[in-house]
Symmetry: C2
Subunit: 217 residues, 2 copies
DNA sequence: TTGTAGTTTTACCAATTGGTAAAAACAAAT
DNA sequence: ATTTGTTTTTACCAATTGGTAAAACTACAA
């Protein structure tokens, strides 16, 4: 008898599992985006994927687990666009323009994630609170400082940077979170790429004219 | 036997009932604001009021009923601040300033209502859709036209008014809907009157500088 | 003091909730 | 063909859900 390393043999082509897991995450994201954590049932997610509830539970053993996974998934691509500290060599106007465009693109590409985030915040951020404090807050602080430096150097007007960020966040995320209302107002079935481009143009124009010292253009 | 008009005698001092109904509405608003329609249970609302679920059902016979009531309650005070057509005699700058202040005051005074509204929209506005189309949309159209007139007259820059409104709505409602995130960022337990004043100052300054032709001031 | 309208409590109920346990089906390596 | 790990199905379950039905309680007018 020889000692044989009991190396895990992975029979199933792992790709298939990954694919199903991805489909589950997508369905879950969709569901949580509409009705939040407590308003969503595991059954409905499973149904959406086309598997049984028990089978769903096999992959994600409980609801909070699944929810955290969805939240984390989104947050990863989210947070990096939430703060704008970057290459300080470029001008404030360019940084701000780039920032607005990036956030709007995110709303366009991942509106569901934005909504899941919104639900969590409106519920008092019970799960995200720590994360926001430890990850977003420091970045926020840094960006505030940067804008104050700009103001001191006369590159932008002497505004309150905090509210600048709240406004940009709100104005960009609204095209994801409130898409149904916006498309209703515009008389469209669904928001298209073009609408996001228009939004980007409007927003950057207004913001740059509004706060950049030498009038943006 | 004389025919006596069976006039309804209202024994219970009607005021007491009205008071309890108001307490229920408040509790319901609070609950729906956190977790939306499907995420809220009648039990939890009753508990919050301090009565039994069956007693709650005596006053509001079913959940959707109660939800519609809460929604309507909010909407009444909501919609009139959602459009700004008014006295056309005043200047665009004054109208816009007044508009922003009004919307922010609403967010300050009734943040719960704002959140209920947000939940409804994020869920695709299943109940509000018709109302928005018949009430908000026409006002919206009118205001768009007004702003275009301003632009044609050279009073404001040639922007896209639709996105102007989306931005203002988002930027003002965010202080209600996302209050938990904002207060987290500002390092405060709760947003105070002062924070809303600051927001109003920032927003009006930026917007007026950004879109009014003769630079707002 | 009794009738009556308004209110609250008690007793249920079927459906849905998130979740467990274990049996069965499946697929691949030996 | 058999073992072995992976996946799916079947069978449950206690708790919670929105809601019904009716009994019991309350207070006031006659």
């Amino acid at each position: 008898m020889i000692y044989k390393k009991p190396e895990k043999n992975q029979r199933k082509p792992n790709a298939q599992r990954a694919q199903l897991e991805a489909r589950i995450i997508t369905a879950a994201e969709h569901a949580f985006a509409r009705t939040g954590f407590s308003g969503t049932s595991m059954e409905s997610i499973a149904e959406d994927v086309g598997i049984s509830k028990q089978n769903l539970i096999y992959y994600y053993p409980n609801k909070e687990n699944l929810y955290r996974r969805v939240l984390q998934n989104t947050l990863d691509m989210w947070l990096e666009k939430m703060a704008f500290t970057e290459d300080e060599a470029t001008t404030p106007a360019e940084i701000i323009r780039h920032y607005i465009e990036g956030k709007l693109q995110l709303s366009y590409e991942n509106p569901e994630g934005s909504k899941v985030f919104a639900h969590e915040i409106m519920n008092g951020a019970p799960i995200l609170k720590d994360y926001l404090l430890s990850h977003l807050q420091p970045q926020f602080e840094k960006d505030i400082a940067l804008m104050k430096k700009w103001a001191a150097a006369g590159e932008i007007k002497n505004i309150e940077p905090e509210h600048f960020f709240f406004t940009i966040w709100a104005a960009t995320q609204t095209y994801a979170d409130f898409a149904s209302q916006i498309s209703l107002m515009l008389g469209k079935k669904k928001l298209a790429r073009k609408d996001f481009d228009n939004a980007a143009n409007f927003l950057t124009d207004m913001v740059l004219n509004g706060i950049v010292a030498n009038s943006g253009k």
